[in-house]
């Protein structure tokens, strides 16, 4: 029972952190800017960078959200302007399907090898 008590207390603590929905637009700006590369910095996202480019980008994203564009529409707009490189989340397309599929294929291949070794031993 002790364990239960601890977890109820923990759950209560977590409760106090809950986010309000009033800042939804801000949250979306943050979410989008985390997924964009700062093209003039080295390996930083728009969100992490404080360069002039990043600052103006953040304003642009905010403006686009206020204009009513959805997350994906904003990405499409930016890809048109700066190229695919700017988005960290590469979509699934003819250039990237190997990227997405290969690790999973390797996983199943590994599983198959392990299974085969174990089963063959038994016979």
């Amino acid at each position: 029972m002790k364990l239960f008590k601890i977890f109820f207390i923990l759950a209560f603590i977590l409760n106090s952190f809950s986010t309000s929905f009033a800042e939804k637009n801000d949250q979306l700006t943050i979410k989008i800017s985390k997924n964009l590369r700062c093209v003039i910095c080295q390996g930083q996202s728009i969100y992490d960078s404080q360069s002039e480019f990043a600052v103006s980008m953040k304003l642009l994203i905010k403006k686009k959200i206020e204009q009513g564009l959805s997350e994906n529409e904003i990405y499409e707009f930016l890809i048109d302007k700066y190229g695919e490189w700017i988005v960290y989340d590469t979509g699934f397309n003819k250039n990237t399907f190997i990227l997405w599929a290969l690790p999973v294929l390797l996983f199943f291949l590994g599983g198959a090898i392990i299974l085969k070794k174990l089963v063959f031993r038994k016979n």
């Binding site: 590369r37 695919e84 390797l106």
Partner: protein
């Protein structure tokens, strides 16, 4: 100037001793007697490299700008600590450090392997010496740290200010011990393959070296991460940046090896797999050096872009891989059938499952890091593979990994029969499902996968806590490390879900509220420091219980080279970090202020430390058993 020459010549002398040891060890191998001179020359080699390294440090300390490396990376009014750490804060110096650690490891192996098989010992020396010669040539030909400048410049160009930090002063040396330690594992493995010595005894011996590498790699990555948290990241601590990935890959591989070698030690199984992992670990360490040094990667770690350096490492890497493959296929004959029984519910199978998942995570990181490079070369299409890719591919598998990790270590070798244990594990599973549902209701987390992830990590957390206090097994080091890992995953997860922040533009005298807290921008203070100008903002944060905290985020304006850095002010408590950072906006009295509340931040570091402490305990036990 004198130090510069001494350093250069002792480096050349070091290379000569290397070649000498190489031939002596070949001769010893034929005669089957260890030539005693190898020991004294190895000591000499260590001495030369040490002198060379010390001379470079001296060049940095006395700001001898006739040395090109010092000129490029130092400045006379830099604090002394960063003059010293500047020695390895650049390409040439960091390679000299690589070399120093390589030689040091060989020397340690020499004095600690008196009871090993003679020919195995000699061959290990030979292989390690091949690597050392390669790095000597690399340093001397492509990146000599002792290049001479005439006429002597009056002032240096300075060190990148974001590297002027205590954490970053110790990050490279620690990480390098981890990286380079894998070279000895590599050499010893090749030697053992040739001598047909892959056995229980060998596993016992090699585990010491694996542990050393692993501990340092763990701590090295952690220190880098802490640095990124307060200096680079505006609150982030892991960015899936290619250079971070490059240090994570050997770590994953080494972790797999650490577990795999247990099976070898206990049951003499998985021989070939152990060999492959040992070779892969070192290859990945080298690969990391190649990627970072070649300038292919776009990252803060890329000091200089010089294609000849990349090419050299690539050729050397190719050479080492070829040699190890040849040795592996020619000498490794696991033909002799062993008919040991393997049951599905046993520790060895669960370690196999652990390796299977770790290899999957490794392949995700590996492919994610290298794919964009190949794509750009092949179809000239530049894409970014960032955090979303890794999270999407790793998280679903991580859930199962965590569940397996809860169950696996509690199984016995050969065959598990204990029913009570199984029942307990099932009960715990339902408890953690319940907890995650509670969290789900409380914070309104809607992502189904996240809920399962929370459940799985709580499960592992509960089980590892139970194990920590159970008296059934005495393997305390394992318990600590596993508990550390579960705590790590849990705190990263809760931190990611519960963090909140506000970004706002403020000028002096303004205030804003964030949740129940009032943040007030009181004033700014300007100071002139040794090598930078500092602008400190004074903020007060008043929480709902009317406690007032003073925050002083800082802007540093360095003039050699001209860089502005932001120093965040972080107030850490056991439950959460409060993180305030500000930035100047050009031509404006406003400052861009970012305030973040990050729960359980400190537990990420504590748990990583626990992970390393577990490794250290195991190492301690091993050394004392001998």
């Amino acid at each position: 100037m004198l130090a510069n020459h001494i350093g250069h010549y002792s480096l050349i002398m070091g290379l000569l001793t290397s070649i000498l040891i190489f031939f002596l060890s070949l001769k010893s191998y034929k005669l089957k007697i260890i030539d005693k001179r190898i020991f004294s020359i190895s000591f000499l080699q260590l001495f030369f490299v040490l002198v060379s390294f010390a001379s470079l440090v001296i060049c940095f300390v006395i700001s001898d700008f006739s040395n090109e490396t010092v000129f490029n990376n130092s400045h006379s009014n830099k604090p002394i600590l960063y003059k010293i750490s500047g020695t390895w804060g650049n390409h040439e110096g960091s390679l000299l450090l690589w070399l120093l650690v390589l030689v040091l490891f060989l020397f340690l192996f020499l004095i600690n392997s008196k009871n090993e098989l003679k020919r195995y010992r000699i061959l290990t020396i030979t292989f390690q010496q091949v690597i050392i010669i390669g790095f000597f040539l690399f340093v001397l030909i492509t990146s000599n740290p002792f290049n001479y400048l005439f006429p002597r410049p009056n002032e240096g160009l300075g060190l990148n200010p974001i590297l002027q930090d205590p954490a970053l002063a110790i990050h490279p040396p620690i990480l390098y011990v981890g990286y380079v330690g894998s070279s000895l594992i590599f050499s010893a493995t090749l030697a053992a393959v040739i001598e047909n010595y892959i056995s229980k005894d060998w596993a016992k011996n090699i585990k010491t070296w694996i542990l050393i590498s692993w501990i340092f790699l763990t701590i090295g990555i952690m220190v880098g991460s802490i640095w990124a948290y307060y200096e680079l990241g505006w609150g982030g601590f892991w960015f899936w940046d290619p250079v971070e990935n490059v240090s994570l890959m050997p770590w994953i591989c080494l972790t797999a090896l650490l577990h795999c070698v247990l099976v070898l030690e206990k049951r003499e199984l998985l021989k070939s797999w152990t060999i492959i992992l040992s070779i892969a670990t070192f290859t990945l360490s080298m690969c990391g050096t190649f990627l970072v040094r070649s300038g292919i990667l776009n990252s803060v770690h890329t000091f200089a872009n010089d294609p000849s350096r990349g090419l050299f490492i690539l050729c050397f890497l190719f050479f080492l891989i070829t040699i190890s493959l040849i040795i592996f296929f020619v000498y490794n004959n696991e033909k002799q059938k062993n008919f040991k029984k393997i049951y599905f519910f046993s520790k060895e199978v669960s370690i196999l499952v652990n390796n299977w998942f770790l290899m999957y995570f490794l392949s995700v990181v590996f492919i994610g890091t290298l794919y964009p490079i190949f794509l750009e070369v092949l179809v000239e299409n530049k894409i970014s593979v960032g955090p979303p890719f890794y999270i999407k591919l790793i998280v679903p598998f991580l859930i199962f990994f965590l569940i397996f990790m809860s169950i696996g270590p509690n199984l016995k070798w050969i065959k598990e029969t204990n029913v009570k244990n199984k029942i307990q594990l099932i009960i715990f599973f339902f408890i953690s499902l319940l907890v995650s549902l509670l969290i789900y209701k409380n914070i309104g987390e809607t992502n189904l996968i996240n809920i399962f992830l929370i459940a799985a990590s709580f499960y592992l957390f509960i089980v590892t806590i139970r194990d920590l206090f159970s008296k059934e097994s005495y393997n305390f080091s394992k318990k600590i490390s596993h508990f550390g890992f579960s705590l790590l995953i849990l705190s990263i997860l809760l931190n990611a879900i519960l963090s909140s922040e506000k970004i706002i533009n403020l000028k002096v005298g303004e205030k804003f509220t964030f949740k129940n807290e009032k943040i007030f921008f009181k004033s700014i203070e300007n100071n002139q420091k040794e090598n930078y100008k500092s602008v400190i903002g004074h903020f007060t944060i008043q929480d709902d219980k009317n406690n007032i905290f003073l925050f002083k985020p800082e802007l540093r304006i360095y003039d050699q080279p001209l860089v502005v850095t932001s120093e965040a002010d972080i107030k850490t408590t056991l439950l959460k970090d409060k993180f305030l950072v500000m930035n100047a906006i050009k031509g404006n009295e406003y400052f861009n202020v970012r305030y973040q509340v990050k729960p359980f931040m400190i537990w990420i570091w504590i748990s990583t430390l626990l992970l390393a402490i577990g490794g250290f305990l195991s190492l301690y036990k091993r050394v004392h058993e001998k």
